[in-house]
């Protein structure tokens, strides 16, 4: 057997041990997660809360700000995803209506631009 075979086998064993230790025995602990890592149904339920509030106060700006907790996507996209999840999950018809109402509002919502500084 060539002399380089045993060290190679040892390295492979070491890598395997390292992976087992790092992934199984002592994996990286994730706490303090962010909302965009939530499971889809929890995200949809959060959006439903926003939809319920929006139905009562018709405040599209507030709804958009609260949907921004998920970051990344636009409020309309977040709301549309929640609507899809709700439909796929068998949400009650009234909940679907609320999500549809919010989605329409977010699609039509135009944030008021903030002017920084003086004249353009």
């Amino acid at each position: 057997m060539p002399r380089w075979i045993p060290p190679l086998i040892a390295i492979v064993m070491g890598i395997a041990l390292g992976l087992v230790y790092g992934w199984v025995i002592n994996p990286v602990q994730f706490v303090d997660t962010t909302p965009n890592s939530l499971r889809a149904d929890y995200r949809a339920d959060y959006v439903l809360m926003i939809a319920e509030t929006y139905h009562a106060n018709q405040d599209a700006g507030l709804a958009a700000r609260r949907l921004a907790i998920f970051g990344g996507d636009t409020p309309a996209a977040i709301s549309a995803q929640a609507l899809q999840t709700g439909q796929a999950s068998g949400y009650a018809p009234n909940d679907i209506i609320l999500l549809q109402e919010l989605t329409r509002a977010m699609q039509a919502y135009q944030p008021v631009p903030t002017v920084i500084g003086g004249k353009p």
Binding site: P6, P7, L8, I9, A10, I11, V12, M13, G14, I15, A16, L17, G18, L19, V20, Y21, G22, W23, P27, V28, F30, V31, D32, T33, T34, P35, S37, L38, R39, A40, D41, Y42, A44, D45, Y46, L48, M49, I50, E52, T53, H55, A56, N57, R66, I69, T85, G86, A88, S89, G90, Y91, A92, N94, D95, L98
Partner: protein, 286 residues
């Protein structure tokens, strides 16, 4: 130590280090499909605000309880009370603070006290709780742990929902009656701040009410204070410093019955010294 496989040992250590580097740095375990109880504290606060706002719209206490339970707080009403106090201290929107405090109160009392509009009430009566997964209902919502290189929500398998029994809609009770003053005592204690007006707000079951707005008026001026900022005394406690010789009127909420003609009393201590005493008022919802 002739014959000891030093080379193999060093190779194993190198390999182990490489494996650890890959597992911890290059491709660490990524948590996806997490549950709300793993959220960072400030995001949990945002969730509570959303739950309280939703509850203010729907008056569905059962649904609000189910949602709060997902956050994993040991005492949900206490968590809401503490959050309302933090929000008050941070000067956040009064409406948000009141909604959070009101939900805390209603969790304690078990009653919904918002005044629903006719439109919302008509809708709420048909709303049911969204389906929770079997894992959620069973309280075993452990995050799925999948070692992947570039996890995205789109790449996760489709979620299979198991229909579960849904809580029945919580009926909307009649809104709470305005608070009325039920007790007024003179407090002559030289150890207390002079002119201290101590106010306690309780419901009809004598539960302390945090987040209640107290309106103090005098000589054309007005001050608004809130209960709950001194939880070390009581959740329904607030206080105010009176000026000697000024007549105050105090009520809880805009529609509360006022306690009028309140003045800081003049007291005498054991040494015969005169000092300005205080008052203790109790307001209760009948």
């Amino acid at each position: 130590m002739k014959g000891f496989p030093w080379v193999s040992l060093i190779a194993i250590v190198i390999g182990f280090s490489l494996g650890l580097l890959y597992a911890w740095v290059i491709s660490p375990i990524r948590y996806i499909d997490t549950t709300p109880n793993t959220l960072r504290a400030d995001f949990k606060d945002q969730f509570r605000i959303a739950i309280a706002a939703s509850y203010a719209s729907t008056h569905d206490l059962g649904r609000a309880k189910a949602r709060l339970a997902l956050l994993g707080d040991a005492d949900t009403s206490q968590a809401l009370t503490a959050q309302s106090q933090r929000m008050l201290a941070a000067g956040e929107a009064r409406e948000d603070v009141q909604q959070v405090a009101q939900l805390a109160t209603n969790l304690i009392t078990g009653l919904a006290q918002f005044q629903p509009s006719a439109t919302v009430q008509a809708t709420v009566s048909q709303v049911t709780v969204p389906p929770l997964t079997a894992a959620t209902a069973a309280g075993t919502n452990t995050p799925t742990v999948i070692p992947v290189e570039s996890p995205t929500l789109e790449s996760t398998p489709a979620i299979i929902f198991t229909p579960t029994a849904r809580p029945t809609h919580t009926p909307v009770p009649t809104p709470g009656a305005p608070y009325v003053p039920v007790a007024q005592d003179t407090v002559c204690n030289s150890n207390l701040t002079e002119g201290l007006m101590q106010i306690s707000v309780v419901d009809k079951h004598n539960h302390q009410i945090p987040g209640a707005e107290i309106i103090i008026t005098w000589s054309g001026s007005e001050e608004h204070i809130f209960t709950g900022l001194k939880p070390e005394i009581a959740n329904g406690y607030a206080d105010y410093i009176m000026q000697a010789g000024v007549s105050y009127s105090v009520r809880v909420g805009e529609s509360g019955t006022p306690a009028s003609n309140l003045t800081a009393p003049s007291c005498t201590d054991s040494g015969g010294q005169t000092f300005t005493g205080g008052l203790h008022l109790i307001f209760q919802q009948p």
